[in-house]
């Protein structure tokens, strides 16, 4: 990493306004202009220049502690980071490594694993994907069947994962596998790290509702990896995955997506000539308040993490609220667009005005990372303690 004026020892020492100004300058100076406001989620080859730029300045992992090469940002600074990235229209890079796998490894990985894998995420050498879901194990993840059997010094993996985001771009997959078929379903699951280039791994892209090949099916046919690729304890993968869900939910509960959509709302209303319509304005204001309140909620959860405490089941509420707010904003956008809500391609090629694209993309947010219905079940049971 070549240090720059954007590379600081302690970002948290800056006041919020100074930090915000720093982020703005950073984006203006370092974000490749041609990648701004992409119409779709970028594949690795497209996102790479931006990823490498983030990497060069040490800005790739705002949520990781400093000692592992992250920015070590406080909750409120992370929020500013997210807000400014969204307002600017910064491209989203493949982030499973930073957001999910990194925190898993920092918490449960061996020292060798951390030393080996974390820097390779930061350098862009390893792009990660998440291999949890299977065709028959979605909401009921614990019923997963992809199997890993120890054969000498190697795990032999057979089975199938699905809905694997950026499966076609990734170099590695962190996956849940069944290592004890005889145990109760939650108790025979382990975490394994598998190179996507391994013999026996095949990837079949799936076209999503927005007509992008963003996720894939991944098949494992006698795939062999070293015994040392196990993360944490054998057969303890489920409780690790559950702990990690906290990270996933706080990430998916960050105001990122809602802020992204909301930042485009006014421009959209102006484009369609309805910005001065009092009914439109009232709805806009409602969503604005919803977003501000959501940010406040997010900060509360992010603070818990910053204090090093474990997130409770109530983090499900954060994910639920964010995904549903994102959808409400996108639905309002569709309404504003009128007939253009049926367009396949953005008006004048301007992604900011592409209400139907945002609307379709937002459909997924209440499905992945635990569907809304499942989040409500969790909250009812584990927060409200309903019978």
């Amino acid at each position: 990493m070549s240090a720059s004026r954007y590379t600081l020892d302690d970002y948290n020492a800056l006041g919020d306004d100074d930090f915000r100004a720093l982020v703005r300058d950073f984006l203006k100076e370092c974000h490749p202009p041609e990648l701004r406001n992409p119409v779709k989620r970028l594949h690795w080859d497209e996102a790479k220049p931006w990823y490498m730029e983030l990497s060069r300045h040490g800005w790739l992992a705002p949520n990781w502690p400093k000692q592992y090469g992250g920015m070590g940002l406080s909750a409120s600074k992370q929020l500013i980071y997210v807000e400014e990235f969204e307002n600017f229209g910064a491209a989203r890079t493949p982030d499973h490594g930073m957001m999910l796998f990194g925190p898993l490894l920092i918490r449960y990985g061996s020292e060798e694993q951390k030393a080996h894998f974390l820097p390779k995420i930061l350098s862009g050498e390893h792009i990660w994907c998440q291999g949890y879901s299977e065709p028959n194990a979605g909401s009921d993840l614990a019923s997963l069947r992809t199997q890993a059997v120890l054969d000498g010094d190697e795990w032999v993996i057979n089975g199938q994962k699905t809905w694997t985001t950026l499966g076609g771009d990734a170099d590695w997959i962190f996956m849940l596998v069944r290592t004890d078929p005889a145990a109760k379903k939650q108790e025979g699951i382990s975490f394994l790290l598998v190179p996507m280039k391994s013999k026996g791994v095949s990837v079949k892209p799936i076209v999503n509702l927005d007509l992008q090949d963003e996720f894939s099916e991944v098949f494992f046919d006698d795939v062999r990896v070293p015994k040392a690729n196990l993360v944490g304890e054998l057969n303890k993968g489920w409780s690790m995955a559950k702990a990690l869900l906290g990270f996933e939910r706080i990430f998916l509960g960050s105001p990122r997506q809602s802020a992204h959509a909301f930042a485009r709302l006014k421009g959209l209303a102006q484009h369609y000539g309805v910005w001065d319509d009092p009914i439109v304005r009232d709805r806009y204001n409602q969503l604005w308040l919803d977003l501000e309140d959501h940010k406040a909620l997010y900060e509360r959860f992010a603070d818990i993490l910053r204090r090093g405490e474990t997130l409770g089941a109530d983090v499900s509420l954060l994910k639920l609220n964010q995904s549903e707010l994102y959808q409400r904003i996108s639905e309002f956008m569709l309404q504003i667009a009128g007939e253009d809500g049926g367009r396949l391609e953005p008006v004048d090629g301007n992604a900011d005005l592409h209400a139907p694209g945002i609307f379709l993309t937002a459909r997924a947010a209440t499905i992945y990372g635990g569907a809304s219905e499942v989040q409500r079940n969790i909250i009812a049971k584990n927060v409200l303690r309903l019978p």
Binding site: N136, D140, L211
Partner: protein, 356 residues
């Protein structure tokens, strides 16, 4: 008002023949036409002509079938449930404006002639500016569905209807691809040659509005059927997901939307079959407002209830959402129709001597 025996029989026969032309259980034809040009089947179009659909509302003395709105909504509902890509409603609007050989070709399905009437986004009633002077048409028309498949357009102007051939050098057609795999055309006329057509019947636009609402109703019902089927087969946690009360209640909420939409549309058809005027306009708007909103609610929730597979292009459930995205705002979105309902219902009530 209940339909008499004869009309019930018409409705039954139309539904049956619709199912034979556009099968709601097999969307392979729909998929094959998506994102292609012109995006629909001429063979199916001719079949529609043979079945007398293209003149369904036209009086018998003009070569039509002279059927009522109850019949039209039954047919368009079936076409909606099967996601038929053919621009049927636009063609119905056009036949109203044709005469002679043009009319005949349109009724038999030999020719595809579409209506070009809208000039601004979110426009329904109101002035048009396209001019038709000395046999020449100039101006711009928007949102003509499947315009690339048309042989000619019936163009509304303050000087009367003009029929313009699609290949006329004075006409340029700009195509906007749509989410449902079809497209719409923006037609720019620059001194294009037009021949005079005839003024459409007064109820022409409201009939198209209600027919579009019924198309959405077909989408709603088909989406709900498929979703309920899915709740009955998909298993998680060792049980069918339809076992979960949260999902049962959601499905019931969607059924409620479907029933309200049907009630509104069938009521509007009965009112329109009784006569024209503000009450009929109010009724068509009421139905379209309901159908536009309900279709988006139901198709959106259907994705949710399908989980990950619902977010793929491979699974058919998404096709219904995409169609709803195109049709819900077409011929007026729900906000426009709520306003229009209030306006005409107020007039209708005043006519009846009711307090405003």
């Amino acid at each position: 008002m209940a339909l008499d025996e004869e009309r019930l029989e018409n409705v039954r026969m139309l539904r049956e023949s619709a199912a034979a032309v556009a099968d709601r259980s097999d969307l392979s034809r729909v998929r094959a036409q998506r994102f292609r040009q012109p995006g629909f089947d001429r063979a199916v179009w001719r079949q529609m002509g043979e079945l007398g659909w293209l003149g369904l509302r036209l009086p018998e003395e003009r070569g039509g079938a002279g059927l009522g709105m109850a019949e039209l909504i039954a047919l368009t509902e079936e076409l909606g449930a099967a996601l038929a890509p053919e621009p049927f409603i636009s063609a119905l609007m056009a036949t109203d404006m044709l005469d002679g050989a043009r009319l005949e070709a349109a009724l038999t399905g030999e020719a595809v002639i579409l209506a070009a009437w809208q000039e601004k986004p979110r426009q329904l009633d109101g002035e048009v500016e396209t001019s038709f002077v000395d046999g020449r048409v100039s101006g711009r028309k928007l949102q003509v569905p499947m315009a690339l498949g048309a042989d000619a357009f019936a163009v509304t102007t303050p000087q009367g209807v003009a029929i313009v051939d699609a290949g006329d050098p004075g006409l340029s057609i700009e195509i906007t691809p749509a989410q449902d795999g079809g497209h719409w055309g923006t037609l720019t006329f620059n001194g294009a040659r037009g021949e005079p057509g005839r003024a459409p019947r007064e109820s022409w636009l409201d009939e198209a509005v209600l027919a579009t609402a019924a198309t959405l109703l077909g989408i709603i019902d088909a989406t709900l059927e498929r979703t309920v089927d899915y709740l009955n087969v998909r298993q998680q946690f060792g049980v069918k997901i339809g076992t979960f009360q949260a999902l049962q209640h959601r499905a019931v909420d969607l059924k409620q939307q479907a029933l309200l939409t049907r009630a509104s549309i069938e009521d509007a058809a009965a009112i329109m079959d009784e006569g024209q005027g503000p009450a009929a306009k109010a009724a068509s708007s009421r139905a379209k407002a309901r159908a536009s909103d309900a279709a988006l609610i139901v198709t959106r929730q259907a994705i949710q209830l399908h989980g990950g597979i619902g977010y793929t292009d491979e699974h058919d459930i998404g096709l219904f959402l995409r169609k709803a995205m195109v049709l819900a705002p077409s011929l007026g979105d729900s906000a426009l129709h709520r306003r229009r309902f209030a306006q005409f219902q107020t007039q209708a009530d005043a006519k009846e001597g009711l307090p405003a």
